[in-house]
């Protein structure tokens, strides 16, 4: 297993090694030690590699991940797994702002809490947060699922498109055009599937409420100006 010690190995060497691995490559399991809050750790992965990061990372860890499995044994700075295409990213600790921003696929699991704007502009990613999330989460969320086992902050799902939001605890307030919606069997089924994938054992699907778009702001109407 290749080990990259970021206390003396340049970031470029790590990311370069993770890119463009040919099919059938022998080394597909990587370990990163001493990340020391480095930014852009394990970004642009484009093959099914596994990366274990032993410590906390800065901005944009696993950014644009496409097929890799990245586990951070620590906490993550802003924009973890931003624009993920596919694969899995697991944060054992907490995540800062914009976790999973604009993600188009894959699964992001945050075992601690996530700060504000979690899942902002999400475009197909599934995000499961074991703890709570901050304000303005899923802002302009287009598609995908955001599951929160704890509480959500202010203005959840503001200007939401078609992303589906599930919160087990309290929601401080809903954003413009975001409403509570009926929980149907297919939603419970999806919840059960994602909770299982994310290793959540302390919460049951029936304990969640579902939130989504009222679709009143989908086409501009001057009479809705007060909502913006």
């Amino acid at each position: 297993m290749p080990v990259f010690d970021l206390s003396h190995t340049p970031l470029r060497a790590l990311n370069g090694a993770l890119h463009g691995l040919s099919t059938g490559a022998n080394d597909t399991e990587f370990e990163v030690v001493n990340p020391r809050g480095h930014h852009a750790v394990a970004v642009g992965i484009d093959s099914p590699v596994t990366v274990e990061v032993r410590g906390s990372v800065g901005y944009y860890c696993a950014g644009m991940n496409d097929g890799g499995t990245v586990t951070v044994h620590g906490s993550a700075g802003p924009g973890v797994a931003e624009n993920m295409m596919s694969g899995t990213v697991v944060i054992e600790g907490d995540a800062s702002q914009y976790a999973g921003a604009t993600g188009r696929g894959g699964l992001l699991v945050i075992k601690g809490n996530a700060a504000s704007r979690c899942g902002i502009s999400m475009k197909g990613i599934d995000i499961v947060v074991h703890g709570s999330i901050g304000h303005m989460s899923a802002f302009m969320g287009q598609s995908g699922h955001l599951i929160v086992c704890g509480d959500a902050g202010d203005a959840l799902g503001d200007s939401l498109y078609e992303a589906k939001l599930f919160v087990r605890g309290s929601v401080k307030s809903l954003g413009a055009d975001c409403i509570e919606k009926e929980m149907r069997p297919e939603h419970l089924e999806k919840l059960a599937e994602l909770l299982d994938k994310a290793g959540v054992t302390h919460a049951k699907p029936e304990e969640f409420k579902r939130y989504g778009s009222a679709r009143k702001l989908y086409n501009f109407n001057i009479d809705n100006a007060d909502a913006y």
Partner: protein, 442 residues
Amino acid sequence: MSYHNPHTPPRKSATFDDHTMAEIRRAAATGIYDIRGAGTKRKVPHFDDLLFLGASISRYPLEGYREKCDTTVTLGTRFAKKPITLKTPITIAGMSFGALSGNAKEALGRGATIAGTSTTTGDGGMTDEERGHSQTLVYQYLPSRYGMNPRDLRRADAIEVVVGQGAKPGGGGMLLGQKISDRVANMRNLPKGIDQRSACRHPDWTGPDDLEIKILELREITDWEKPIYIKVGGSRPYYDTALAVKAGADVVVLDGMQGGTAATQDVFIEHVGMPTLACIRPAVQALQDLGMHRKVQLVVSGGIRSGADVAKALALGADAVAIGTAALVAIGDNDPKWEEEYNKLGTTAGAYDDWHEGRDPAGITTQDPELAARLDPVAAGRRLANYLKVMTLEAQTIARACGKNHLHNLEPEDLVALTMEAAAMAQVPLAGTSWYPGKGGF
């Protein structure tokens, strides 16, 4: 004998002119502000207010068609492993598939490729046709991140992080539902037929310190190969340029208020941002103060129409220019041959700016298959290539007359201004004097 009281002719208000009053009535009737495409329509100080001095006893000219006047430009020399070299410093600005038809994007790619320059994607992502027809393609990285994916990032020749644009510094955009075809909707991960908001700021960074880290991420993902541009609207050009350099840009793209947009509120287009002419010198000053002029390249856009405009922008210190509206006109936008159809839309050729409505008779700003089919991308691409070549020749003509063997050798010293405003903005002397406002404390 009868006596007639003399009457003065009816007098209209300069403040409440016909256009203003019509707009008040329109707003009162509809309850919505006016949304339109293109850039500012008001008259602002521009390159027309500058003149070249040409050669004289103290400077000798170069022979037209004989002595070489180089036009090549290389962008991205600061950090990128693979800078791009263009035959002409006139590039094609970012315009989206969605705002423009597929045929229009193809025409831009074809024309730019024949002329040896680059074209640029827009909000909505990269299409295969666009990549295929553009030898050098700049990939815009926008706040909405519609269609954004690392595969396209890697198959681009350069990356342009869009912070703002001249038509609407500080504003996002809206692609109205009627232009959202199945393909556009699919590329943007949104349902068909709904208005698509393009965000005004990036979702995962705010401020120059974050931007520096974002650029680091983009470089790491693309293995430091691609030149990274930062595009800003003409707002605070000195500080925006300095901050872009600080954040790690290879190239700064600066777009003045004459730069077009696919759709924005008229009040925004006309009242926010600065004219292109007012933006160039502060940006160049910032680069010079940082010791980065010609190391970080400056691309200027917004109202570039001719080789004279190109030469003037370069003389003021730009390394290259970008054209958007002019390129659309070259491929067929607002062509009088569609006058009857423009009339049916309540407008006239030359004034058509409802690009957001998708009913463009010229088949350019539309997703309607029948309208789009009116534009032959091969012939339109040829027209664009011709136009780019004419502009390049015009710029060379002027440069040779000033005794320069490369367009980049043009200097502010080669220029004078026709008006006080232009003299102040361009910081070149008022014609016939050695003075401009601000010089010597006056």
